[in-house]
């Protein structure tokens, strides 16, 4: 099940909220949420619930072992074993095919990636590390631990909330009206971003796949850049919003990343929960920035190699990660001062361009295609500057592009605050009406997406 499924929005979610409201006791609520979360997880592929539960049990018990162990050396070995087991599960499902490809092993073996595996494995790892570092005590209550790992608000696509951030909320949560209301606004925003912007842009992207004109390839890359932001941040907004319905407060996962003025700035604003995870559980343990220059460079490459690999089993993702590693090093050692001196718009354009180039690696099926796309963007290998397909898509989706670009900046928030101050209740009514209309349109688009009309009766 995904958050944009009608059955989720109009069955699963309302029923879950109503049941939680009925049960006021937090302990019972937790049991309910665990049951709902497992049901949610089982929805797309029931068999993988077994995997999820095994993974939860493994980490639940290892944490006690870690806690009980006083001998530093044994403790470290234990930590390594438990991390390796987690990574093995992740690796088996996610990277086997890739590995066989590299080693040229021919096989028909097709392993489907369990939903959210990369996300919940990282949540569990954060727990293991938090316990190892003494930041948190092992969670004795298995219901609470299961809830932490599997809560349906975050299991499929994050945010990756580290254990110590969620620990208190597992036991003590209050459901306030204000929290509920802000959750509703976030869900609405997320749904609008995902359905009205991301899905439209992703259609443009799919049409332009084989375009051979310069304009077409630029539109292809830009539609991907906007699509992935609205898709992912929309989904994150929905996740954070609906978590509020159950009393959970998670930090924002995106903060207008396309307003960044340097690559470092971009990564503070993009998929924040993942960057934080890598900072807390890989970069800092490796020594952070308190090491000599060579170790630092090595660390950066390790972190960004892993970040790339985490996103998918393909050289393109690894290259994408290492590309960011290089850019960050470049910024740290050469560009930082220059960037700071530059006028903001220039450093903003620089950031957008390098991020766009990054997305070209990210979106391409292989590295050759990525370079050929980049070539076409500067006119190498194109047939013409702008062909009809590119012009047709630009003309048809011009408003969508403009809206998407505007909404990826802070303009919306500024306008919103301005009109509230200026027009007060009138602005409230207008905003309210716009939200309601957009939500109805969202639902119409989702229903419309399931609409398959045949010329002749289909049996």
């Amino acid at each position: 099940m995904v958050f944009t499924d009608l059955i989720f929005l109009f069955c699963f979610l309302p029923i879950s909220v109503l049941l939680t409201k009925l049960i006021r006791n937090v302990k019972l609520q937790n049991i309910l949420l665990v049951v709902l979360s497992l049901l949610f997880y089982a929805w797309s592929n029931p068999i993988y619930v077994v995997l999820l539960i095994l993974s939860i049990l493994w980490n639940y018990f290892t944490a006690f072992e870690l806690e009980a162990q006083n001998d530093e050396k044994t403790k470290k070995i234990l930590l390594i074993v438990s991390v390796v087991v987690n990574l093995f599960i992740l690796g088996f499902y996610k990277y086997t095919g890739f590995l066989m490809d590299i080693l040229h092993i021919q096989s028909d073996l097709k392993i489907a990636l369990p939903v959210g595996l990369s996300f919940f494995t990282f949540s569990e790892l954060s727990y293991i590390f938090d316990v190892y570092n003494g930041k948190s005590k092992p969670q004795k209550n298995i219901i609470l631990f299961t809830l932490y790992v599997s809560f349906f608000g975050k299991i499929s696509m994050g945010p990756i909330v580290s254990y110590h951030e969620m620990e208190d909320q597992l036991r003590n949560r209050t459901l306030s009206k204000a929290q509920y209301a802000s959750g509703m606004v976030l869900i609405s925003k997320g749904l609008i971003k995902k359905v009205l912007l991301a899905d439209q842009l992703s259609y443009v992207y799919s049409i332009l796949q084989n375009n051979t004109s310069t304009l077409g390839v630029w539109l292809l890359a830009i539609s991907y850049m906007l699509q992935i932001y609205f898709d992912f941040s929309g989904y994150s907004d929905m996740a954070i919003g609906l978590s509020k319905f159950f009393g959970f407060d998670f930090k924002p996962n995106f903060d207008h990343p396309y307003t960044a003025t340097s690559v470092q700035d971009f990564w503070r604003k993009w998929h924040i929960s993942l960057s934080q995870w890598f900072r807390d559980y890989l970069y800092i343990p490796l020594g952070g920035n308190r090491v000599d220059k060579n170790t630092y460079i090595r660390n950066i490459f390790i972190v960004w190699f892993c970040t790339g690999l985490w996103h998918g089993a393909n050289w393109t993702f690894i290259l994408w990660g290492l590309y960011y590693g290089c850019l960050l090093l470049l910024e740290k050692f050469f560009l930082r001062e220059k960037l700071e001196k530059l006028p903001k718009p220039i450093s903003h354009i620089y950031t957008l361009l390098v991020v766009l180039i990054g997305w070209v690696f990210f979106m391409s099926p292989n590295i050759t295609t990525a370079f050929s796309t980049l070539g076409k963007m500067i006119g190498i290998g194109t047939t013409t500057f702008a062909n009809n397909q590119a012009k047709f898509m630009l003309k048809s989706y011009f408003i969508v592009f403009v809206l998407a670009i505007l909404l990826s900046t802070k303009v919306y928030d500024r306008i919103q605050i301005f009109v509230y101050n200026q027009y007060k209740m009138k602005a409230v009514y207008t905003t309210w009406t716009i939200y309601i209309i957009l939500l109805i349109v969202c639902i119409a688009f989702i229903v419309g997406g399931t609409y398959h009309s045949f010329l002749y009766f289909a049996f």
Partner: protein, 380 residues
Amino acid sequence: MKHKYSSIMASSLTKVVSVAAIATMTVNIIIPDHKQSETENRPLQTFPSWNTEHVLSGQYTKDLNTWFSDQFVCRDQNIHIKYLIQKTFGVKEIQDIFLTKQGLIEKTAKPNKEQLERNLNAINTFKQNYPELNVGFVTAPNAVSIKKEYLPKYAVTLNQDKQIDNIYSKLDDSIVKIDLRNTLKKHKDEYLYYKTDHHWTSLASYYAYQDIAKTFNLETTKQSDYTIYPVTTNFEGTLANKTGSVNIKDEINIYVPKDKCDYVITDESTNKKSRTIYHSDALETKDQYTVFMGGNKALFHINVDNNSKRHLLLIKDSYANSLIPFLIPQFNSITVIDARYYFEDYKRLIKDDLITDVLFMNNANTFVQDTSLADMLEAN
């Protein structure tokens, strides 16, 4: 810092959306399931019954998702909202259909090249096997070709004229090739194609008939030879269904010869006989184009009360359905088969029905994707 007014907005939005969501859920669950959708032309998913195997494989939950969206309240209205929004925002193409000032126009179909080659070879072989028969071949161009200049600016679609040229070039010269494009292009501003359907109108069929008559040695006619009856003015066809278009409606006219011509039509699948090819009950259904012939069936026999010595075998798709009224007075009998549904031995038909003429009549979009003609012609 939370803004006071943004909290007011949030809390009132929350109330309305919560109530609306719960109401929608209740209505969706309470309203009995619909078995099929007329606008989508397909069966809808009803509430899946418990099946342990399906539950374990995940099929059951998949069916539940489909059930919920298929049975969603006001499902058909949602597609209209989507259409209106897309249209307002400048979208000019929905589901391979162009939105033009002349109505909805389907994109050129992508040919199934291998199969097309097979079909054309099968037609050539057919002519070789029956050298004594007068064999004609018509590919009706679609709106995308005739109304090319009305397509949206920069619209990209395959070149149908090239496709049709290619089809004709591969047919043996012993086959009478009838090319309707020049005639139809002369009348391109007229009402040749339904604005909401993938078929052509009776007017286009009338023009097409004149071309066919000239090359196939039939009598040409004038518009004044017919009484034209508009049988409906609120037809919304397949393209309207696919796009969800709003406020575009078509008129269906039927051309009845003033010189009365009696005939009996037999639908061989049901053995029903009738004295008219028109099905007025179709006007009460969604697909009003089935007013012609009652839709596509495997085999019809039309026996005409006249002195003609010619017996026609018409191998056709639905474009021919509105052409048949013009052909009827010219033949003593017409045997109509649709290769997509006909699985019997056509050779016996040729013998039993004393066939003298054969006409292949398809529209280009269907013909380039057809997968049944060669199989039928090559069957023993």
